[in-house]
């Protein structure tokens, strides 16, 4: 953890095109699933946007709505089994309510998805080359042999050795890391402008994980695509993202530039995420603090702030506000680029004096000094 808290912005990371157009705009998105037990409110009133060349990290625990919201971007929810409201615009085109034909032209072409577990996400009965070639031929009118050549080229590009002979292999003949590379090759075959990577490294071991993340960054530089990386791993976010969105119970609870958000988190749930991360370089005094309790039911979400039943700082908010009123998603003390959904008035002080000493005592001084100079953070990332 210490690493990314103190690291400067990665040198290799592309800087977002200044003033670039938003490629993806999600506005007030809600996704609900009617079930026998009632309405599951998986995503509530979610808004974010991504520019070309930029990486957005969406963080949250299982069931926080991060995958559900990103699947909505490709219109992957069965309209008979789900209710979507709000607006999702890909390059200006509205996704919600769009025809199957419109969606098909976007899927895999303008927006491609990399799924979590490549063993189950790749068809077991078709060769890797056939699956990549199919993705290419859907959006390009070319012969099978041309598609095959393209598949070989892509496999080579993502670092599969002997791509020419491996192209006819089946997914089960690839190792986990190679499968994920093949999955990435398939996603990139049509030069998508936006790549949604849904926990792309969760099924992989740490070394391979690092390789895959490097590969994604490298490809992003070459293809200049926007990336949404969905993860529950803050390490991945620190490595990859320019901007972070923290989700809880289907809502955005904190959002800001990566470095800003990770060094000065303002929402107790984000503190919890940071506290529960193990760190080999930290002093042995640092404790690993899990977030107490369980993720809330999306059938009957808690009243007020959805995090209040698990929040250790409820008593610092006057009255019953946390239990009765949902906090708005507003800029906190640190400027307009850093949004949070929390009733706490002085989160930065609480973080520096109560949370940080527990998880990273060596950083307290730094952060306190930083807090005194709020403008510093603003200047670095600009207004959003």
């Amino acid at each position: 953890m210490t690493d990314f808290l103190t690291d400067q912005q990665h040198a290799g990371q592309p800087t977002p095109a200044p003033g670039g157009e938003d490629f993806l705009v999600v506005e007030n998105l809600s996704v609900q699933f009617p079930t026998h037990d009632g309405l599951v409110k998986a995503v509530n009133d979610l808004s974010y946007s991504v520019k070309m060349g930029e990486t957005l990290g969406i963080v949250g625990e299982s069931g926080s709505g991060k995958s559900v919201s990103s699947m909505a971007v490709l219109g992957l929810h069965d309209i008979k089994r789900s209710r979507l409201t709000g607006s999702i615009r890909v390059d200006g085109k509205e996704i919600i309510g769009a025809s199957e034909q419109t969606l098909r032209k976007i899927r895999g072409n303008e927006v491609a998805m990399i799924f979590q577990d490549p063993l189950t996400a790749l068809h077991p009965f078709y060769s890797i080359g056939a699956q990549i070639g199919e993705a290419y031929r859907i959006h390009h009118d070319v012969s099978k042999s041309k598609a095959r050549a393209k598949a070989i080229e892509m496999l080579d590009r993502v670092g599969i050795p002997q791509a020419k002979s491996r192209v006819d292999d089946y997914p089960h003949q690839f190792s986990g890391g190679m499968r994920q590379r093949a999955m990435i090759a398939m996603a990139l075959v049509n030069d998508p402008k936006l790549i949604i990577a849904d926990e792309p490294t969760t099924a992989l071991d740490v070394t391979v994980q690092a390789q895959i993340l490097d590969l994604l960054q490298e490809l992003q530089r070459d293809f200049r695509s926007a990336i949404i990386i969905i993860t529950h791993d803050l390490g991945v976010v620190a490595e990859m993202a320019d901007e972070v969105l923290v989700m809880y119970a289907g809502r955005a609870v904190e959002q800001g530039p990566t470095r800003e958000l990770l060094t000065h988190p303002e929402m107790p749930y984000t503190w919890g995420l940071l506290s529960s991360m193990p760190d080999v370089t930290a002093s042995t005094d640092a404790r690993l603090v899990p977030i107490p309790g369980n993720p809330p039911s999306l059938l009957n979400p808690p009243t007020g702030c959805p995090f209040h039943p698990r929040c250790p700082h409820v008593d610092k908010v006057p009255g019953d506000l946390c239990r009765t009123e949902l906090p708005e998603f507003l800029p906190g003390q640190r400027g307009t680029h850093h949004l949070k959904r929390c009733h706490l008035v002085n989160p930065d002080d609480i973080y520096a004096t109560e949370v940080l000493p527990e998880i990273a005592p060596d950083l307290v001084e730094l952060t306190l000094a930083d807090n005194a100079d709020v403008a510093h953070g603003d200047g670095m990332h600009g207004e959003r």
Partner: protein, 331 residues
């Protein structure tokens, strides 16, 4: 791959040999004396005559010797004495007590009828069942799905013989919608062959298809929930192609297994179908041979042929399976 097939062929062969021993032992060591029907068929059966016939038929020899003679007959011509002497050309499965003809010849004569019924019926039930199942899976939860599932349950809850009998009585006798049934060899008159088998095909096709529809539906519903189906959609594959290419390709594998065994059962003779539709096939032949006076060589032959068919079907299923599923092919 070749090694896998060779291993399977060898083990299948062993199974067939063991089955033939078992069948042989079952009938020749069973409670009734094979010489009995032969003795009774030729007038009054005295104890001396029975003993003579037993002696002639070699029933006094040890079982092993008898089985040896039987097994040898499959590869070389032999002479069998039942009252008088009969030549039995290889592959010899014995001489029928009833007709005194060679069992192998009769088998070859009756087999085309059974084969015709089985192939036609199987083609209908497989196509119909799989298509209905895929559609039901695709529209799962809708009224169309419930109608398909309910209808298939209803049809499959009617006993097959009743369904076949009613179909024949109403569709052929009463309303003459279908031509009268029976078997004409294909080589003799293709039109008559087709007309005579049409109703049996439809009846087998419809009744069996319900089971396949439900099975396919289950397999498809499971497959359509797989991650790789979502991947296909996310690539921009048309939804029809997602279902029929990506979905069915995976869902068909377990159906092939069941189909192989069902088809073998159908090939072994469909007693009801042949009786009701008046088709002189293997099933009817086998049924007649167990009725008194029992025709032991025919019983042995039909059971043995059924066993071989089941074993061969299993073998074929394994081979097809390895072509369908690359994960099996490689290992």
């Amino acid at each position: 791959m070749a090694g896998f097939i060779i291993r399977r062929v060898i083990s299948s062969f062993l199974v067939v040999v063991l089955t033939s021993m078992f069948v042989f032992a079952l009938f020749f060591l069973g409670p009734s004396n094979p010489a009995g029907p032969v003795c009774e068929a030729s007038g009054k059966c005295t104890a001396e005559r029975l003993a003579l016939i037993e002696e002639q038929m070699g029933l006094n020899e040890s079982v092993v010797t008898q089985y040896g003679a039987f097994a040898k007959g499959i590869f070389v011509d032999r002479t069998i004495t039942i009252g008088s002497e009969y030549d039995c050309d290889a592959p010899c499965l014995g001489i029928s007590y009833g007709t005194r003809g060679q069992v192998t010849d009769e088998l070859l004569e009756k087999y085309p009828a059974t084969l015709s019924i089985a192939i036609g019926g199987a083609m209908i039930y497989l196509t119909l069942g799989v298509i209905l199942g895929v559609l039901a899976a695709r529209w799962r939860g809708t009224a169309a799905d419930r109608l398909l599932v309910g209808g298939s349950l209803l049809v499959s809850s009617v006993p097959y013989y009743l369904f076949a009998l009613l179909a024949w009585i109403f569709l052929t006798l009463q309303w003459s919608i279908f031509p009268s049934t029976g078997y004409t060899p294909l080589t003799e008159n293709p039109g008559a062959w087709f007309a005579g088998l049409l109703l049996p095909w439809v009846v087998i096709g419809v009744t069996f298809s319900t089971q396949y529809a439900r099975f396919t539906r289950g397999s498809m519903v499971e497959t359509l929930g797989e991650d790789y189906i979502r991947t296909a959609t996310a690539k921009g594959v048309k939804s029809n192609k997602v279902v029929f290419k990506h979905g069915l390709r995976a869902a068909i594998v377990p159906i092939v297994t069941i189909f192989g065994l069902d088809f073998a059962a159908l090939l072994a003779g469909t007693v009801f179908t042949e009786r009701i539709f008046n088709i002189n096939g293997v099933g009817w032949w086998a049924l007649n041979s167990i009725q008194s006076p029992q025709d032991f060589p025919v019983i042995t032959a039909t059971v043995l042929v059924s066993a071989v068919l089941v074993v061969v079907a299993n073998l074929l299923v394994d081979v097809i399976y390895s072509f369908l599923d690359p994960r099996v092919r490689m290992s």
